[in-house]
């Protein structure tokens, strides 16, 4: 213990406050957003018109060098670390900037290409992605595979310098209007489960590709089914080696990716808007609403703090694996509860699709979307299995 008595000054290393340069960085972003965020909300990117408006916004972001902030500088990014990224996101939501139509590319395919792509692939795809010229959809799921991703049946048969692709993908987000899709295909017809899969990029305007939009609860095609009928794809569109698909798909499915897609700022901003909605209407509301909004606000903040904690761990070199299942369940339940409360507050207006008073229309849209939270990206039941088996070490069977 003597050591400790001597070295007490070094003990205080956990530091729960931003540095000067982090605060400066925040100002810089805030300034840029204040000048560049469209004054009027864009149409939904699940409509043709809105999709193109959002593509334009990606281009604007890129002009300010704000579109791929986590990418290394050599690919045109800013190489932000996770804490900086969190700051960026806080300012993004504070500015009420448009949603990212480019998510699949920037956060999923981009990092994959950087790790596994050839130089040619990188130079062909990365800048087109950053500039918004290629908007990507993801093609993981297949009908009847559900949460069981290894049950992939779509095939890619090698024929010299091309692959011939057949089969069907579903729940492909953004595919209704996107330019390209990436996904896993079975390149070894004899293989089973995780083996024999390859990671292939497919242009959606290729002959033989049919995209059938799937309207979701809000009536808009947030997803699509993609049918491949003898689609010919150049072999240079394969990432990594034949049969390496599963490994590549899994390699980048960690904490950082989850974070990029669901930054805490989103839920904190919803919680704040909810509090305002509550205080604007509190005279006619019952005690349960008061307590529920308070609880949600606290949960949103607890979520943010937890993410800062996880980010600190990652920056210190730790791996965050199954822990992201804890966050998944937490944010998806919180998001649903917040929108449910908004519906309760809106009461007679909660069915009015085009009502602007109290932001009713946008709460309704968010309410419907919140139902998908506990389902997509691994249902909450699967997440709880992971938590109990991998984090708590409980027996599988």
């Amino acid at each position: 213990m003597l050591l400790l008595k001597k070295e007490t000054q070094n003990l205080i290393k956990m530091k729960i406050e931003f540095t000067e340069s982090q605060n400066q960085f925040r100002s810089e972003i805030r300034d840029w957003f204040s000048k560049n965020v469209p004054s009027k909300p864009l149409a939904s990117f699940d409509t043709k018109e809105g999709f193109e408006e959002h593509r334009e916004w990606e281009k604007t972001l890129n002009q300010g060098n704000w579109s791929m902030v986590t990418w290394p500088t050599e690919y045109g990014g800013r190489a932000l670390n996770l804490i900086e990224w969190l700051i960026f996101e806080e300012e993004y939501y504070r500015a009420n900037a448009p949603a990212r139509v480019n998510q699949n590319g920037v956060f999923l395919l981009g990092p994959t290409l950087m790790e596994y792509g050839t130089d040619d692939q990188k130079s062909k795809f990365l800048s087109a992605m950053a500039e918004g010229d290629h908007i990507w959809s993801q093609g993981w799921s297949e009908p009847n595979a559900g949460s069981d991703m290894a049950a992939i049946r779509a095939t890619a048969v090698r024929n010299n310098d091309t692959f011939i692709i057949n089969g069907q993908k579903t729940w492909s987000s953004r595919a209704a209007f996107a330019d390209w899709t990436f996904g896993l295909f079975r390149s070894d017809p004899e293989s089973e489960r995780h083996r024999g899969l390859s990671f292939i990029l497919v242009p959606l305007d290729q002959k033989g590709v049919t995209v059938r939009p799937i309207p979701q609860l809000d009536g808009e095609p947030g997803f699509a089914e993609i049918y491949f009928d003898n689609v010919e794809v150049d072999a240079s569109c394969m990432i990594g080696d034949e049969g390496q698909g599963w490994e590549i798909a899994m390699a980048t499915a960690g904490f950082e990716r989850g974070l990029m897609l669901r930054s805490p700022a989103r839920f904190q901003e919803t919680a704040s808007r909810l509090l305002k909605l509550y205080f604007d209407n509190q005279d006619v509301l019952s005690p349960s609403i008061a307590s529920r909004v308070t609880h949600c606000w606290m949960q949103a903040e607890a979520y943010a703090l937890n993410i800062y904690q996880c980010a600190s761990k990652v920056m210190a070199g730790d791996k965050i694996g199954s822990e992201s299942s804890l966050s998944k369940v937490y944010w998806s339940n919180l998001d649903h509860e917040m929108h449910q409360i908004a519906m309760d507050i809106l009461g007679i207006s909660s069915e009015l699709k085009n009502e602007y008073l109290n932001n009713a229309a946008s709460w309704i849209k968010g309410y419907m979307f919140s139902y998908s939270g506990p389902i997509y990206a691994g249902t909450n039941e699967i997440q709880k299995n992971i938590i109990s088996e991998r984090l708590l070490g409980m027996p599988r069977k």
């Binding site: 609860l217 509301l285 019952s286 005690p287 009461g347 309704i364 506990p374 389902i375 709880k384």
Partner: protein, 342 residues
């Protein structure tokens, strides 16, 4: 004390249920959306001929004078079917008003009703007259005297409207010894409770079918304990809604002083049941349930509307909370069926 439906009540509701399952298919509901066809007048006529539409109109006016418990049972079946036409509204809101003001109302037509708790009458354009409240006073007005504007509900089965009277003189003030504003409020709360109860039952039935059928990891997803318990939780909330709804109907029927309290309790619990049915039912369907193509959302969507109108959760919770404060001495187990006026 007897909570059982009579054979006649059961028979009557079963025959409605039979009619609905034969005629109100999800396909026909979807056609309704695309055609924007409003009322299926042929269906309305059929149900009228079968005696359902006028079931609780006084016998003197050609109805059957049925009691509100039976009517609530019918409305539960209507909820289960997802039917777009406003039969629930006719039975619960219009008919009692027709009985009271039969001389002033054209009772061969659908009568729309507006109230602060549901200010956008369903199918207003398909009615000849409207009863509305101004400062809690009831007025009757012909539709052609109104400026009406169609609104878009999140449930495409509901044709709802905003309206404005050019001149209050165009309307007839209805004189009544009862507090009609509160009466209609209570009727609306119980009507929406019965609808939500029926919708919840439909949602759990769909989820049950889907999870027994759909396989994952080599067995039906309904065999996973998490999915089972998810639906068990729904079954529990539904079970404890039934009696509340029928007690509320009975209390209104008897003009019991606790009718408002009982109606609010029924509404609170039916909102809760429908909410957990929607959340867990959709969750049990996985991503499929989230699509427009699956029929599930027809019923979930209708639940969303009736949760908000005719007594939202904050509204009914406040009613109950304030009454508890007032009635503190009369809250024990011996007061469940008491009329506080007794």
């Amino acid at each position: 004390m007897n909570f059982n439906f009579s054979d006649d009540q059961a028979l009557f509701s079963e025959s409605l249920q039979k009619y609905l399952s034969d005629n109100v298919t999800t396909k026909s509901i979807r056609e309704f959306w695309t055609d924007n066809s409003h009322f299926l007048s042929s269906r309305w006529k059929e149900l009228e001929e079968l005696g359902f539409i006028t079931a609780n109109i006084d016998e003197s006016n050609g109805g059957m004078s049925l009691d509100l418990i039976t009517i609530a049972l019918l409305v539960e079946k209507i909820g289960y079917s997802g039917m777009p036409e406003p039969i629930a509204e006719q039975l619960f809101l219009a008919n009692p008003l027709i009985n009271e003001f039969s001389s002033q109302i054209n009772h061969n037509e659908y009568l729309a009703v507006a109230h602060d708790l549901a200010p956008h009458p369903n199918f207003l354009e398909d009615s000849k007259q409207l009863i509305f409240f101004q400062d809690q006073n009831p007025y009757l007005i012909d539709i052609e005297k109104l400026k009406i504007r169609s609104l878009e509900s999140n449930d495409p089965s509901r044709s709802i409207y905003d309206f404005e009277a050019n001149n209050l003189d165009d309307a007839t003030k209805l004189e009544s010894k009862k507090n009609l504003y509160e009466q209609v409020q209570n009727y609306g709360m119980v009507m929406s409770s019965a609808l939500l109860l029926g919708l919840s039952k439909r949602i759990i039935d769909s989820a049950k079918l889907y999870t027994c059928d759909r396989e994952q990891f080599g067995k039906p997803i309904g065999s996973f304990q998490a999915v089972k318990h998810m639906l068990a939780d729904v079954a529990i909330e539904i079970e404890f809604t039934n009696a509340l709804v029928y007690r509320a109907a009975s209390s209104i029927q008897k003009n019991c002083s606790n009718a408002t309290m009982h109606a609010a309790q029924a509404k609170f619990q039916s909102i809760k049941a429908c909410e957990i049915a929607s959340k867990n039912g959709l969750q049990a369907h996985g991503a499929m349930g989230y699509t427009w193509e699956m029929d599930l959302h027809i019923f979930i969507r209708k639940g969303w509307s009736y949760k908000g109108i005719w007594g939202s959760r904050p509204f009914v919770e406040n009613l109950v909370f304030n009454n508890l404060k007032k009635d503190l001495p009369k809250l024990g187990a011996t007061y469940t069926f008491m009329d506080n006026n007794d």
